[in-house]
Symmetry: C2
Subunit: 155 residues, 2 copies
C-alpha cells in the first residue's frame, strides 16, 4: 500500500527517537504514531481516538495525549490551534514551509507553501532583534466549495 510507504519510515524514526532516550516502545505509542503520522489532514486528539477505535485499537485518553506530546517533542508532528477550542496535529514535513487556509464554514484546512512569505517573516524577526523559532500563518475565510454552495443557494 502506497500510504504505508510514506508512513513507515516516519514511524521508524519515532521508534529510534524512543530507543535513543531509552524509552519503552509500546504498542500504544506505535499505534498512535501510525495513525497520526499516516494522517493527511489536521486531526484533533478526539479524531485520532476515533481513528484508532475504527482500527479496533483502544488507547486510554491520558496515553493518547502523552504520546501525541512525545510525537510533537520528537519533531515528527506539528501542533496547531486554529481556534476551534481544541488542538490539531499534523505530521511535520520539515522541508516544506506551509501555512493554512482555514474555512470558518466547514472547518476545513487547506495548506499552502510560500517561500517568499517564510523569508519575509524571518527578516521581520531579525529587524526586531527577535530570535525566530517558528511562525504561524493562517488565512481565515470561506473556501471555494463553501462559496459555491452559498452562491448556489442564496445568490
Amino acid at each position: 500500500m502506497l500510504t504505508r510507504d510514506k508512513t513507515a519510515p516516519l514511524v521508524e524514526q519515532f521508534r529510534r527517537y524512543l530507543r535513543d532516550r531509552r524509552l519503552p516502545v509500546t504498542k500504544q505509542r506505535i499505534a498512535v504514531a501510525e495513525v497520526l503520522l499516516g494522517s493527511e489532514d489536521h486531526p484533533s486528539v478526539d479524531l485520532l481516538r476515533q481513528r484508532l477505535e475504527a482500527k479496533g485499537l483502544h488507547v486510554g485518553t491520558a496515553t493518547l495525549y502523552r504520546t501525541v506530546d512525545a510525537l510533537v517533542k520528537s519533531g515528527l508532528v506539528l501542533e496547531h490551534d486554529f481556534g476551534d477550542g481544541f488542538r490539531r496535529y499534523e505530521p511535520s514535513t520539515p522541508t516544506v514551509e506551509h501555512a493554512h487556509l482555514v474555512c470558518r464554514r466547514c472547518g476545513g484546512v487547506v495548506e499552502f507553501a510560500n517561500e517568499r512569505l517564510a523569508r519575509m517573516l524571518r527578516m521581520t524577526a531579525d529587524e526586531h532583534h527577535f530570535h525566530y523559532e517558528r511562525d504561524k500563518v493562517e488565512i481565515h475565510g470561506i473556501c471555494a466549495p463553501c462559496r459555491a454552495r452559498d452562491l448556489g443557494s442564496a445568490g
Copy 2:
C-alpha cells in the same frame, strides 16, 4: 488625560453599537469597554477582571465574557489565541494591519505592521479561490530582552 482621548470615542462607538440594536447600555458593559478599549496590550479575560477590580469595579465572570464577546462582534476588539491556554484581546485599529511577535520566554507580545505581507496573503487567498476574511500571522521565538538576559547569565 491623553489616553482618555483615544479611548472615549471608541467607547462611544460601542454605545452606538448597542443602541443601534436596542441593547441596554449598562454600567458593566461600559466599564469593560473602557478598560479593554483603553488597553495598549493584549489582555486576557482574567487580566481584564484584575484591571476592573483595581479600579474598584466588580463585574461577574459571565458578564465579563459576554461583554468581551459583544465587543468582538461589534468589530471594536480583536480576539487572539497565542496558545497560552486562554484567549487574549486587543482594541482593533482597523487602519493598521499588524501581526505579532510572541516571546515564549516572557509571554510578551510585540506588534509589527507589514503592508507587503498583508497584500501577499490576500493574493494567496485569491489564488486558492478562497474568500479572504482575516488573517493571523505570528512569529514565535525569544524577544531581544530575554535573549540579552540569556546571554548575560549563560555565556
